[in-house]
């Protein structure tokens, strides 16, 4: 190239650095993105390979049913291609931190293989030190320096596995085979391993190695994940498998012999232990017997004491009574004495009375005899009187008879008598008065007294009478005189009679009195007798009393004795009680001793018995085991069985598939824009081309000028892009994976992938170069003169809109100009729309992928799978155990709803296509809608469970290329096949499923489904779930418990990284959009500089000029956005299908919000661009641009 021309080229760049830079950067961006994304897959694999190599990640792992021994290892080392075979111990254990239980995998430290990479702290040196999983340390909250305590989590002791159970954490590390966040599944705790702990090899007390780790030769140069590596590895694996059978047989023989002898020993031991136990029990039994005897004796003694106490009480009572009696006796005696005294007095008195009575009686007798005498006198008087009367009567009679004779006598007598009588009458009242007085003195004597008186009087009177007879005669005579005095006689007679009567009475009275006296005597005699008897009695009583008193004295003495006796008895009882207490104390002590003995025995015996039982069980198990012991198998596992190794590869491949589409699209946009820019540039320079051509420069040289410009931009840009992109983008993506998922990955290797780099550079150079050359060629075809003249600007043309005058007329000129312009520069229009649309589409794909990915977990586990947990039943267990477990599980507190499901892995076949899927047969299909939503993804129409045929998950149907109504072949576990019609294709994002009703299943297989899963819906909080999980896993019949939440979480974790990668896409697309817009605007302005200058000269204000340009830009942006939406949707669909992994279906739709966001981004970029352009518009030099003839 000529010097001048070279100068020109360089100046060309200087003159318009914006254009050069923008082309440069567009190409750089395109190349960076292209190589970056496309290199990521390789870089990821390189980095991993570097890491695997540096950590000596095992190539092969051999597991055996019976563990591995040194012999096995030796055998393995002999295998060709094995460079290192090391035995390794692993175990599962549980540790607790802040009340959380963690399941950890204990792994022995290995030096030459699976080397841990220390992240913090140091390697363990002492046996009680350990290295902990970096991830686990973060999660659990342990710190370096803490002590971590393990337990087995099963019913066996941790000491079976480890020689000690506590370790000090001295550092954290990562392991190459645990590169991601998953640590695998455990058979203990909640079933998920939370982390690993690396321990010194010596602390493991296991007999055999858990696994053999193998490094192989010949892979030094091969990249992990490469086919060469895999071939080499498989070759060695095959060789190992070839020796496996023989080694396994040998191992089996060993184990069997060992087991047999161990069992024998164990049985012997059990026998010994049992004998010991029996002895101890016998001893205890004797002791117990003794105590029982002692207790019985005590009880008897107590009874005796009780009796003694009772008799004591009785004795006391008796004594009390006796004392009372004595007291009473004494009182009685006293009373008796009193009585005796009284009776004595009475007797005295009685005697006195008797004496008195006798006296009285005597007096009375005297009186009586007096009275008798009196009476006798009286009676005699009376007799005399009567005789007198009679005589008188006779006298009277005589007198009367002799009356007349006598009357005279009588009268004479009467006269006498009368005189007598008068006398008498005169004496009589005196007598009478005397009598009366007498009568007053003594009642029994008045008559007598009278009589006596009268007697005396009569006697005197008789004398007198006699004396007076004469007189009487005279009186008789008087009487006679007083003839009528006869009645008086009569009356006297009557009175006499009365007197006689009275006498009679007196007689009676006297008799009576006599009798009375007699009686009184008798009475007195009686009384005397009585008194005598009383006295006698008294005497006897006194004697009695004396004897009583004596007796009482005796009793008192007796009582005193009794008291003494009681005292003695009491003493005896007290003594007895003391003795009893002592005995009891003794017994208590004995009992205590026994109890201690018993406790000791219980403790020891329980342990011993437990031990024995365990041992027995162990023996039984051992026996069973030994019986069941089969020739072990070796499991020869390559790296492709390491979960993180595989998932990492999948992630890398996903990036790879992303790289197949996205960057290409990206690159195309970049190339298109740079190509436009170059074309424009060449076209702009037609005058210069013409000049050069006129000057005689050859086409090649001229072309070279532009080509060199383009090449400078393309090569420079693409190299810069490749250099930056192949480092930055893989770094960002790996860092995203590395910090979030593959924590083990610490070194990111980002070598320049020459093929990608060359591809990017070549593509950039070619696209721009060819475009430049094409443009130059087009120009060069013209004659120099034509070229020298200004290129007739694209002429204005009428546009379709002008044919609608109604609309057109209402537009002002700027609008008219804008609209015409849009159609005038068709190429620019197209480029802009494609450019903006492309960037919009790329951003939309980024956002859309995020949308598609982020909804997967929510859709699958929120909308489609309605159940909360899935419990898998161990079908190896007895049906009974399974049923019990099912009941336990479904009845668990917090479990609201449950459904049993038969899950089986099947292969679906349709024509050439084959696909694995999970076959689910719900026990009650009618309740299926409570657990899984069957619906069409697009129409959202929900389906019922198909009564005929099968429901097939969407992606599976797509892979098999079937739709509803087609027939597919199901190959069951056992190899049987059956044909079934697909009746529904249902929305599903994770895994592949085919659903059959039990009836259809039965028809197809002829079997009844074996329900090995339980889907449960539950309402539990975090802790309850944890408890539930623990309780379930503790059951033999429980194989695993998986909460859908945790599935969703881990899915989200994984997809989040993809999201982060999407940000790379979005940001790159945004950048691209920015540069594209700049470039297009820049072209737009340069192209129309004259026009804009004219406007300025015409006096358009800056704002008006800008508006003139912006209007176009804005319209173009909108059109570009609209185009981008359509491009984005189809690109998104395409990218999704590429990025998707087999097990997963991403959502197919882009959220409306993403459209809005992308449109807003595009508009924002456009606005920023316009702002930048405003400055450029302002700077347009009117003079220069108008003067230049182009």
């Amino acid at each position: 190239m000529k010097r001048a021309l070279r100068k020109d080229s360089i100046r060309e760049i200087r003159r318009n650095p914006g254009r050069f830079i923008s082309i440069f950067f567009i190409i750089a961006l395109g190349a960076a993105f292209f190589t970056g994304i496309r290199s990521t897959k390789y870089d990821m694999k390189y980095s991993a390979d570097l890491y695997y190599n540096s950590a000596n990640l095992m190539d092969i792992r051999v597991l055996s049913d019976l563990g591995l021994t040194d012999d096995d290892l030796e055998a393995l080392r002999q295998v060709e291609g094995v460079s290192l075979a090391e035995g390794n111990y692993t175990a599962e254990a549980i540790c607790e931190q802040s009340n959380e239980e963690y399941v950890v995998s204990l792994i022995s430290l290995t030096e030459d293989i699976n080397r841990p990479e220390i992240r913090q702290g140091r390697m363990p040196e002492a046996e009680d030190e350990c290295l902990v999983d970096t991830l686990f340390l973060e999660e659990s909250g342990y710190k370096i320096g803490d002590t971590i305590q393990f337990r087995s989590g099963t019913d066996t002791s941790i000491s079976d596995t480890l020689t000690r159970d506590a370790f000090t954490i001295v550092g954290t590390a990562v392991l190459p085979h645990y590169m991601d966040l998953e640590r695998g599944n455990a058979g203990i705790g909640d079933g998920t391993i939370d982390g690993f702990v690396l321990l010194n090899r010596n602390v493991f007390s296991l007999d055999v190695y858990t696994e053999a780790l193998i490094l192989i030769d010949g892979t030094e140069g091969e990249l992990s994940y490469s086919t060469e590596y895999e071939d080499q590895s498989e070759l060695v694996q095959d060789r190992i498998e070839a020796i496996a059978d023989a080694e396994c047989q040998r191992r089996y023989d060993e184990v069997y012999a060992e087991g047999r002898s161990k069992l024998d020993d164990a049985e012997q031991e059990i026998a010994d232990a049992e004998r010991e136990l029996a002895d101890a029990e016998q001893e205890l039994e004797d002791g117990r017997q003794e105590i029982a005897d002692g207790e019985r004796t005590i009880v008897e003694n107590e009874q005796e004491l009780q009796d003694a106490r009772q008799s004591l009480a009785d004795g006391e009572q008796e004594l009390q009574d006796a004392w009372q009696q004595i007291l009473d006796g004494r009182q009685q005696i006293a009373d008796a004495w009193m009585e005796v005294a009284k009776n004595g007095a009475k007797l005295e008195k009685g005697q006195e009375q008797i004496d008195q009575g006798l006296e009285t009686l005597k007096q009375k007798e005297e009186q009586l005899s007096q009275a008798e005498a009196q009476y006798e006198a009286g009676y005699a008087q009376y007799q005399a009187a009567a005789e007198q009367i009679n005589a008188q009567k006779e006298q009277i009679a005589q007198a009367e008879a002799a009356l007349p004779a006598m009357e005279e006598q009588l009268a004479a007598l009467k006269a006498q008598l009368a005189a007598l009588q008068e006398q008498e009458a005169l004496s009589e009242p005196e007598t009478e008065a005397e009598t009366e007085t007498m009568e007053e003195d003594s009642s029994d004597t008045p008559a007598e007294d009278e009589k006596t008186g009268e007697d005396t009087q009569s006697q005197e009177e008789i004398t007198v009478l006699e004396a007076q007879i004469a007189e009487l005669e005279a009186v008789i005579a008087q009487m006679r005189t007083a003839a009528d005095m006869k009645p008086q006689l009569l009356a006297a007679e009557a009175e006499l009679e009365t007197q006689g009567g009275t006498l009679q009475e007196t007689r009676v009275t006297l008799d009576q009195a006599k009798q009375q006296i007699q009686q009184g005597y008798a009475e007195l005699d009686d009384a005397q007798a009585e008194v005598d008897a009383g006295e006698e009695e008294l005497e006897a009583g006194i004697a009695e009393l004396d004897s009583q008193s004596a007796k009482l004295d005796e009793a008192e003495i007796e009582y005193e004795d009794g008291l003494q006796e009681l005292e003695d008895a009491r003493q005896q009882i007290a003594d007895g009680e003391q003795a009893l207490t002592d005995a009891r104390q003794e017994l208590t002590d004995a009992k205590k001793e026994l109890e201690d003995g018993q406790r000791e025995y219980d403790e020891k015996a329980a342990d011993a018995r437990q031990e024995i039982a365990d041992a027995r069980e162990e023996i039984a198990d051992g026996e069973q085991e030994l019986e069941d012991l089969e020739v072990p198998s070796w499991y020869v596992l390559g790296r492709d069985t390491i979960a993180s190794y595989v998932s990492y590869e999948m992630d890398a491949d996903r990036m790879g598939s992303l790289g197949n589409v996205f960057p290409v699209m990206f690159f195309l946009v970049a190339a298109l824009v740079s190509l436009t820019a170059m074309t424009r540039m060449v076209e702009e320079q037609r005058t210069a081309i013409g000049t050069l051509k006129a000057l005689g420069y050859g086409d090649g040289v001229i072309t070279w000028k532009y080509l060199s410009y383009a090449m400078a931009a393309a090569i420079g840009g693409s190299i810069l892009g490749v250099l930056v992109g192949s480092v930055l983008i893989p770094w960002v993506i790996m860092n995203a994976y590395g910090t979030a998922l593959y924590r083990g990955l610490s070194i990111y290797l980002m070598p320049l992938n020459m093929d990608q780099a060359i591809l990017a550079v070549a593509a950039s150079v070619c696209s721009t170069g060819i475009a430049t050359m094409a443009a130059a060629y087009r120009e060069l075809r013209s004659k120099p003169a034509q070229l020298m003249r200004p290129k007739t600007p694209e002429s204005g043309k009428r546009v379709l809109l002008e044919r609608i005058p109604f609309l057109w007329r209402h537009l002002n000129f700027t609008w008219k100009s804008t609209i015409r312009n849009l159609f005038r520069y068709k190429k620019r229009f197209l480029m802009t729309v494609i450019g903006i649309g492309g960037c919009m589409a790329l951003m939309l794909v980024g956002y859309g992928l995020q949308d598609s990915i982020s909804v997967v977990a929510e859709r699958q586990y929120g909308e489609l799978f309605l159940y909360d947990a899935q419990i898998t039943i161990d079908t190896e267990q007895d049906q009974e155990v399974q049923d019990t477990f099912t009941e336990y599980c479904t009845g668990y507190e917090g479990v609201d709803n449950s459904l049993r499901v038969c899950a089986e892995n099947v292969t679906l076949i349709c024509g050439e296509e084959e696909h694995d899927a999970e076959l689910d047969v719900p026990e009650t299909p009618s309740r299926m809608d409570e657990f899984v939503t069957f619906r069409d993804r697009v129409t959202r129409e929900s389906y019922g469970f198909p009564s005929e045929g099968a429901a097939l998950s969407e992606k599976t149907a797509d892979s098999l290329n079937v739709s509803a109504g087609d027939l597919i072949l199901i190959e069951f576990d056992d190899g049987e096949t059956a044909e079934v019609q697909v009746s529904e294709v249902i929305e599903n994002y994770m895994m592949h499923y085919i659903y059959l009703s039990p009836d259809v299943y039965g028809q197809l297989t002829g079997n009844t489904p074996e329900y090995n899963r339980i889907w449960v819906s539950c309402s539990m909080d975090e802790n309850q779930r944890y408890a539930f999980e623990n309780d379930m896993t503790a059951q033999d019949a429980c194989y695993s418990v998986v909460f859908m939440d945790s599935m969703a979480d881990s899915l989200n974790d994984m997809l989040d990284i993809l999201n982060e990668v999407m940000y790379v896409l979005i940001i790159s697309a945004g950048l691209l959009a920015f540069v594209v817009l700049y470039n297009l605007n820049s072209i737009n302005i340069t192209e129309r500089e004259r026009e804009l200058a004219t406007l300025k000269v015409l006096g358009f204000y800056d704002g008006e000029v800008a508006a003139y340009v912006y209007r176009e830009n804005i319209i173009l942006t909108f059109i570009g956005i609209a185009a981008g939406v359509f491009m984005g949707i189809s690109l998104h669909r395409f990218v999704i299908l590429t990025v998707e992994v087999d097990l997963m279906m991403f959502a197919r739709e882009i959220q409306p919000m993403s459209f809005v966001i992308c449109a807003l981004w595009s508009m924002l970029f456009s606005l920023i661009m316009n702002a930048v352009m405003y400055i450029r518009l302002k700077k347009i030099d009117m003079i220069a641009s108008l003067k230049n003839v182009e």
Binding site: E794, S795, R1090
Partner: protein, 233 residues
């Protein structure tokens, strides 16, 4: 005071380390309604003067007065407003908006003016009545220049500045354009300033200003300007 008056106008361009004096103390006056021609060889500073006068550029020193306004003090928006309202430009290369028709090009200028003339009238005046609806690409150079003149005239400016208006045209067309300009000056009493390197046309001017090397070499007034038809070159 004259309608247009330049006094000691200098313009210095700083090109890297080199200072170029495009104008070096230019002074002249033009009266209203005059047809003035500024002549001088290439690079004499004619265009610079015109640009300063037209508000497309500013003088480094000196004053420019147009109709009493001191234009040299104008900057930014004032300058644009001055261009917009007071100046009509005619360029050598017409500078028409390619996507607007002749009429629309005129109207484009009109929509920013205060007292515009009727676009169709003006086009009729410049003899393009029948080509009004044509796009610039469909017009000949002379016709395009007529549209440019029409666009400038229609703004009804105080000054009509023409920078080599015939530079890109053939002899006959050039003459016709000059005649159009002259006629406009006469009929509308428009002050017209034409820049040209062609001294042959000076006889038709009312005032001729010779510029050489950034200075006014001479300024003379033609008492009796010759009609353009009589001038040959």
């Amino acid at each position: 005071m004259s309608y247009v008056e330049l006094k000691d106008v200098t313009k210095v361009y700083q090109m890297g380390e080199v200072q170029i004096k495009a104008c070096d103390g230019i002074s002249f006056q033009i009266e209203k309604g005059e047809f003035a021609v500024i002549v001088g060889p290439s690079g004499a500073g004619k265009t610079t003067v015109l640009n300063i006068l037209g508000g497309m550029d500013t003088a480094t020193t000196g004053t420019v007065t147009v109709d009493g306004q001191d234009v040299s003090t104008f900057r930014g928006r004032d300058l644009i407003r001055y261009r917009r309202e007071d100046i009509g430009f005619v360029f050598q290369f017409y500078n028409l908006m390619q996507n607007l028709t002749a009429l629309e090009n005129v109207e484009l200028a009109l929509q920013i003016c205060k007292n515009p003339l009727d676009a169709k009238e003006v086009l009729k005046e410049v003899g393009l009545e029948s080509r009004m609806k044509n796009f610039p690409a469909q017009l000949s150079g002379g016709e395009q220049q007529r549209v440019a003149i029409a666009r400038a005239l229609a703004k009804n400016p105080r000054l009509l500045l023409c920078d080599e208006p015939t530079g890109a045209l053939d002899y006959v067309t050039g003459k016709a354009i000059l005649k159009l300009l002259h006629d406009t000056c006469r009929t509308r009493n428009m002050t017209v300033i034409v820049i040209t390197h062609n001294t042959a046309i000076t006889p038709m001017a009312d005032r001729v200003i010779h510029i050489h090397s950034g200075k006014v070499k001479s300024m003379k007034q033609n008492e009796h300007p010759q009609p353009i038809e009589q001038i040959e070159w």
